[in-house]
Amino acid sequence: MLRVRNLSVGYGAEPVLEGIDLEVKTGEFASLIGPSGSGKTSVLRAVTRLLQPLAGSIELDLEPNDIGFLFQDDALLPWRTARQNVALGLRIRGNAVKEAENVADHWLGRLGLGVFGDRYPRQLSGGQRKRVAIAQVLALRPKLLLMDEPFASLDAIVRTRITQELLAWVEQEHMAVLLVTHDLEEAISVSDVVYVLSQGPRAGIRARHEIPIPRPRNLLETRRDPCFAPLLTTLWDDLSAASVTDDSTQ
């Protein structure tokens, strides 16, 4: 579904990441973990063509319209209501306003925000804004969902709840996912495969691990799976090795 080969991205001539190879197969849930500043967001921006790669290729066997992007922050249009924000993508794709807003209401309802359609973003809590952002993306029925640390700003309770819901949506809509995160436990509990980034500058993929826990997942139960703890240790070692090697070269 998505194949990234030998990708280099950066701002100006100096690459932030170099020689990135990763793949997300149909229906697969992949995560990319790395420390802050290693270039995770930059990879997603390259995949969505917001950032021109310095080198390498990004192969997608789907239309650009089939990609959904859930951003790190929940910046919604402040001058549009929740309903209008969700309807925006549909309207851009040619739906009439009325029709788009009906679909938007439907998705807001499915995300438990049925009564908040008329509210402006500043009238919603962080968790509610995040749900609106999710509705905005899901309403477009993407086949590949890109997520950039989507829940980093939420408190633990809301975060667990929304992540669990999102997992259910991923199963129901048969989406392939590329999740970017710095949270190892989150990556292990939700993904089929985890890519570990080394520390930048010129970060690269340091390791790839398959997570042999059956899907659908339950966030709390996966943590009790016998392979969870050993995987966590391995990933930790990979990540810290990545930073140590890098420190020594500086």
Binding site: R45, L77, L140
Partner: protein, 253 residues
């Protein structure tokens, strides 16, 4: 009474009335020279007679038309130039230095030139109000567009939005917010332009009357006219505020 005094507006009105009462008393007790500081009642009488005798209307009309035409034209010109400069970098290289220069000078110094070019009638006053407003609004729009939240731009682009959608969904609303922030200042500028234009050369208008009042050392008429202009600006401020709350509803809900 105490409940009533909790309202800011009520407190302000009470303070104003107290000040006027004090002023009036001071005048009646001859503590103030009526040649320099006539009593509020005397000023009120002048104001009343201005309207009662009906001569004020033609002056009001002149100043008001100049200010309003200048305001509307200045808004339009500032918005167009701001968008053009922000979206077409090549033209920005031409427009920006001119605007920076116009912004740096006290623009009222252009008044004599406008009189030479456009005559002593309405046109020269409109032009001065226009240039005062247009430069202000240009910078509101230009910097408004340049400082648009890039996260919103990226968001709309990943949803599939092209340039047209971006302008409609992101640029226009965020620029509206900037313009509304400058609207009150623009109203003040429009009146400054109209009245200063009338000072320089005119045959009617509040600026012309003020000029006349000053040359005949008529302090009561001068203060009456200033009061009148203030009253108009306060009304226009209220309208601006109402407009702002309507257009920027998302900010006030």
């Amino acid at each position: 009474m105490k409940r009533l005094l909790d309202h800011t507006t009520v407190r302000r009105v009470v303070a104003l009335l107290l000040l006027l009462a004090l002023w009036e008393t001071a005048s009646r007790l001859n503590w103030l020279d009526p040649f320099y500081a006539p009593a509020p009642s005397a000023i009120g009488k002048v104001l009343f007679s201005l309207f009662a005798e009906g001569q004020i209307w033609t002056h009001l009309e002149a100043t008001f038309s100049a200010a309003m035409l200048g305001l509307v034209a200045g808004l339009a010109l500032g918005i167009v130039l701001g968008f053009v400069a922000a979206l077409m970098p090549l033209l920005a290289q031409l427009i920006e230095p001119v605007m920076i220069l116009l912004n740096a000078i006290p623009r009222v110094i252009l008044a004599p030139l406008f009189v030479i070019w456009l005559g002593i009638e309405l046109a020269s006053k409109v032009a001065l109000a226009l240039i005062l407003v247009a430069v202000l609004i240009f910078f509101a729009v230009y910097s408004g567009i340049k400082e648009v939240d890039q996260r919103l731009v990226e968001r709309v682009r990943t949803l599939g939005g092209d340039r047209r959608v971006l302008i409609r969904e992101v640029y226009v609303p965020s620029v509206t917010a900037w313009i509304m922030g400058s609207l009150k200042v623009a109203v003040g500028f429009a009146f400054t332009g109209a009245i200063v234009g009338e000072f320089v050369a005119s045959s009617r208008g509040l600026g012309y009357l003020l000029q006349f009042a000053q040359s005949s050392y008529n302090a009561a008429l001068t203060i009456a006219l200033i009061t009148l202009i203030m009253a108009f600006v306060i009304v226009l401020f209220a309208i601006s505020e109402w407009l702002e709350r309507r257009l920027l509803r998302w900010r006030y809900v």
